[in-house]
């Protein structure tokens, strides 16, 4: 009974989403990008990423063999970009999930318990809000061992604060509703109120927030990698490390635009796609935003 109703609600939500052309376009883009990233090992050969086995010349311009040219070591830029999407998407998604999870838990706990719990948690949140998160992330990744895990941790730990504020505000409005009081009078404890009433009401907001946050996480990942704090393994490139090596190899001076543009444009497209999806979702879940 419950599941059938959820199914119907989902279908109604989808119809509303499908009405928005930008949202659909963003979703289409995402599907294509994710498919390419997932299928990269199938449609291409990872061997091509190995500098010792590279077949092309140094910074060759685009040709039939290398549609986007080659880098300094003679590897195909198309291949690098394709494999880079795996890294960028993984870090973007996992870091966002981490950040949203921390933010949601802290936001709900602060709003639900109030008093000193709220005061303590919100001061911690404020601390993370005022600190420049990039600086903090750089500091974190310098201290910890370099690698994909560190990058995810650095991004996740520095970007949850605004989400926590948002979730806390939403929780406060939910907790003021009389049905929470009724639930307490029925004998419901903290766990019951939080899981049965607060969480389901907060989740749509969290979901939208996640979609919008993935974009900034991907940008953060590229920034950290560009600054040389990314995964140093050449077999696991990311768009950020590509931009870094392009800069180190003086691609601009060499006039090798094919080295710089693909990762840059790829970042732009993915962030745009996530934002378009997120905005469309937001207006589905929050009817007040629908144009009228």
């Amino acid at each position: 009974m419950v599941w059938r109703r959820r199914g119907a609600a989902f279908a109604a939500g989808w119809r509303e989403f499908a009405k928005q052309r930008t949202g659909l376009a963003g979703l289409g883009l995402l599907v294509v990008i994710v498919l390419l990233a997932v299928l990269a090992p199938v449609i291409t050969d990872q061997e091509g990423l190995d500098v010792t086995k590279a077949t092309g010349g140094t910074m060759e311009p685009p040709s039939a063999e290398f549609p986007l040219g080659t880098d300094r070591s003679g590897r195909s830029v198309l291949l690098l970009t394709l494999w880079g999407s795996r890294m960028s998407l993984t870090v973007g998604l996992v870091a966002t999930l981490l950040s949203i999870a921390i933010g949601t838990v802290i936001g709900i706990l602060a709003a639900h318990y109030g008093r000193w719990v709220s005061a303590t948690l919100m001061r911690i949140t404020d601390f993370f809000l005022v600190l420049p998160s990039l600086v903090l992330a750089i500091a974190l990744s310098t201290v910890l061992q370099q690698g994909i895990g560190t990058i995810i941790l650095a991004i996740g730990l520095t970007s949850w604060a605004s989400g926590a504020r948002l979730v806390r505000a939403q929780t406060l409005t939910i907790e003021a509703r009389p049905y929470i009081e009724r639930s307490k009078a029925l004998g419901g404890g903290h766990a019951h109120v939080i899981t049965k009433h607060v969480l389901p009401a907060v989740l749509p907001l969290v979901f939208v927030n996640t979609t919008l946050a993935v974009g900034s996480a991907i940008v953060a990942e590229s920034t950290l990698s560009f600054l040389g704090l990314g995964d140093p393994d050449p077999m696991r490139p990311s768009w950020g490390t590509m931009l870094r090596s392009a800069w180190l190899d003086s691609a601009v001076i060499a006039g090798a635009w094919w080295y710089l543009l693909p990762p840059g444009i790829a970042i732009g497209i993915v962030v745009l796609a996530f934002t378009m999806c997120g905005r469309a979702l937001e207006s589905v879940l929050n009817p007040r935003l629908r144009e009228g």
Binding site: M1, R177, R182, A185, G187, G189, A201
Partner: protein, 555 residues
């Protein structure tokens, strides 16, 4: 006399709302006339079209409304007026006292400026500041407010004072017709009586016409000479107020009249149940059984104190000793702010008392939330507004089963849960229960929602219901049904109830005993017959005196 054009004349007025493909007929062919110096009461439940009718007089309806028929204001058809003429007519010929003074005033402007606004807008030249000030002071005096109140912001005024400001605004341009849309709905009985007095005097002194809209027949009867009862967009009954109240002919008028009982008239005791076709199974014993012995619930010198900003201490509940016996309905009455709701929350363990204690069945109620769980199976809460008391995402089934699941009583959807939910829904008279289970709150009417809340409470088989204004947000006819349900539940399940209300009529309707609360203290407690017929405390007397009576005063 006959040659004179009426102040307001509605001829075959109809209003239709169009939204998308749907069409709603809000007003269907209404004919009404009103002469200067006359007062007309317009009664009806929410959704009967009474407010739409009022707004149509000044063409204040949204663009989706289609108006048919004629609206003659001083013989001039409002529908055919040009925009400029309409603007001139608004407020100078007819003014409206809007519903809900809390929201109709601008919170960031002083009330003096807000009263002056229509005067400035309607004069051709900017009136000199001194003159304007004098006029506003004059208007404030007319509504019996001191001139100093003009410099206040709306939040600094009480509900009654705000309503007076609204009336002063309506009088600003000396209109000949005033339309008052539920002018006293959100006000306490005592304040309501003052506002009604004021409006009656103004009409008498200034020879203006008054159309007053309300769902409360008693309010209309005490201020209006004539009454029109609306039902589903039509005027179903019209005539002199006294005769309509005395001998209602339309069944709907009868229902409205019955919903506002005459306090002190034995006919209205337990009337909601005895008058309904379902009846009252076993009329409760005249005397509540066993006056001695341990009561079901007892509060001992209960106190709740709040410390606000700047260390302002408020004694919301100041030493209350209250008893509720098994199978007894006790009404807790008092004005808003008297601490009734805080007392109820303290009894339910939702608000920790500052001192004193609550004793249930001889055992003090514990303070920790874990220990409270067992107690909360026995005592259940019914809230004022059923719309917000139900989680909009939960189906009827889930809402009713919530308590069972919290207490792990029915072993989930595979156990006996479904039977128990069905039984609770049946007990709350939602039949057939199967059909209601999958529905969401927004698919139900207000009365049905309140029944779901009651069913959710009943599922735990409690001994005591604490109902905080259980019918205040419901329509008159639904109100009777819910009260009847409470009475029948008491008779069938021996369920005790503490009903919190500001409405003495409700107490007279269903309660066995009544406790009058004033400023955090119980000033009078006793059987309903005694307290409401021969009140001993001054406060109880003033509450009773402020009740609008359905017998119009022949003064």
């Amino acid at each position: 006399m006959g040659e004179k054009t009426a102040l307001l004349e509605l001829r075959d007025l109809s209003v239709r709302y169009r939204s998308g493909t749907r069409e709603v007929e809000a007003v269907r062919g209404v004919d009404l006339t009103l002469d200067a110096g006359e007062t007309l009461g317009l009664a009806g439940e929410s959704g009967c079209g009474k407010s739409t009718l009022a707004m149509s007089v000044l063409r204040l309806l949204p663009t989706s409304a289609e108006i048919g028929g004629e609206i003659l204001l001083d013989g001039e058809d409002v529908r055919r007026m040009k925009w400029g003429r309409l603007r001139a007519v608004r407020w100078t010929s007819a003014a409206i006292v809007f519903q809900g003074a809390m929201h109709a005033l601008n919170p960031v402007r002083r009330v003096r400026d807000q009263i002056a606004e229509p005067i400035v807008l309607h004069s051709k030249t900017q009136p000199p500041a001194g003159e304007l000030r004098k006029r506003v002071t004059e208007l404030l005096a007319q509504v019996e407010l001191p001139a100093a109140k003009g410099d206040a912001y709306p939040h600094e005024l009480s509900g009654g004072q705000k309503q007076r400001v609204m009336i002063a605004m309506a009088l600003a341009c000396e209109p000949r017709l005033i339309i008052a849309d539920e002018p006293t709905t959100a006000l306490d009985v005592i304040v309501q009586a003052q506002v009604l007095d004021l409006m009656t005097n103004l009409v008498a002194q200034r020879d203006i016409g008054l159309v007053m809209i309300s769902h409360d027949l008693a309010v209309l009867a005490s201020t209006c000479q004539r009454l029109a009862v609306m039902y589903e967009g039509r005027v179903v009954e019209e005539g002199a107020a006294a005769s309509i109240i005395a001998e209602p002919t339309h069944p709907h008028t009868k229902a409205l009249a019955a919903a506002f009982p005459t306090v002190g008239d034995p006919e209205y005791r337990y009337a909601p149940a005895t008058n309904s076709p379902l009846g009252l199974p076993d009329p409760p014993a005249a005397e509540p059984a066993a006056t001695d012995g341990e009561p079901l619930l007892r509060t001992e010198d209960l106190r709740v104190t709040f410390t606000g900003r700047g260390r302002v201490v408020t004694h919301a509940v100041a030493g209350v000793d209250l008893e509720v016996r098994r199978g007894e309905i006790v009404a807790l009455v008092g004005q808003s702010g008297s601490g009734k709701t805080t007392l109820a929350r303290a009894i339910l363990g939702l608000q920790p008392p500052t001192s004193g204690r609550v004793v249930y069945d001889g055992v003090p109620v514990p303070a920790t939330s874990r220990a409270l769980r067992a107690y909360r199976r026995q005592v259940q809460l019914v809230l004022q507004d059923p719309t917000s008391a139900l989680n909009p995402r939960h189906s009827v089934y889930e809402s009713v089963a919530e308590g069972l699941r919290i207490h792990g009583l029915a072993g989930g959807e595979n156990g006996t849960e479904r039977e128990r939910v069905a039984a609770a829904l049946e007990a709350a008279e939602l039949r057939p229960s199967e059909e209601f289970m999958p529905l969401l709150p927004h698919q139900l009417s207000g009365g049905q929602r309140q029944r779901v809340v009651i069913a959710g409470a009943l599922a735990l088989e409690p001994n005591l219901l604490v109902a905080d204004e259980p019918v205040a947000s419901l329509d008159a006819s639904v109100r009777g049904e819910i009260l009847a349900l409470l009475l029948r539940l008491r008779a069938k399940l021996d369920l005790a109830a503490l009903v919190i209300t500001h409405d003495l009529g409700l107490a007279w309707n269903i309660a066995d005993r009544v406790a009058v609360m004033y400023r955090g203290e119980l000033v009078e407690v006793g059987p309903v017959d005694e307290v409401l017929r021969e009140p001993k405390h001054d406060y109880t007397r003033s509450l009773l005196a402020a009740l609008p009576t359905t017998q119009p005063t022949q003064a």
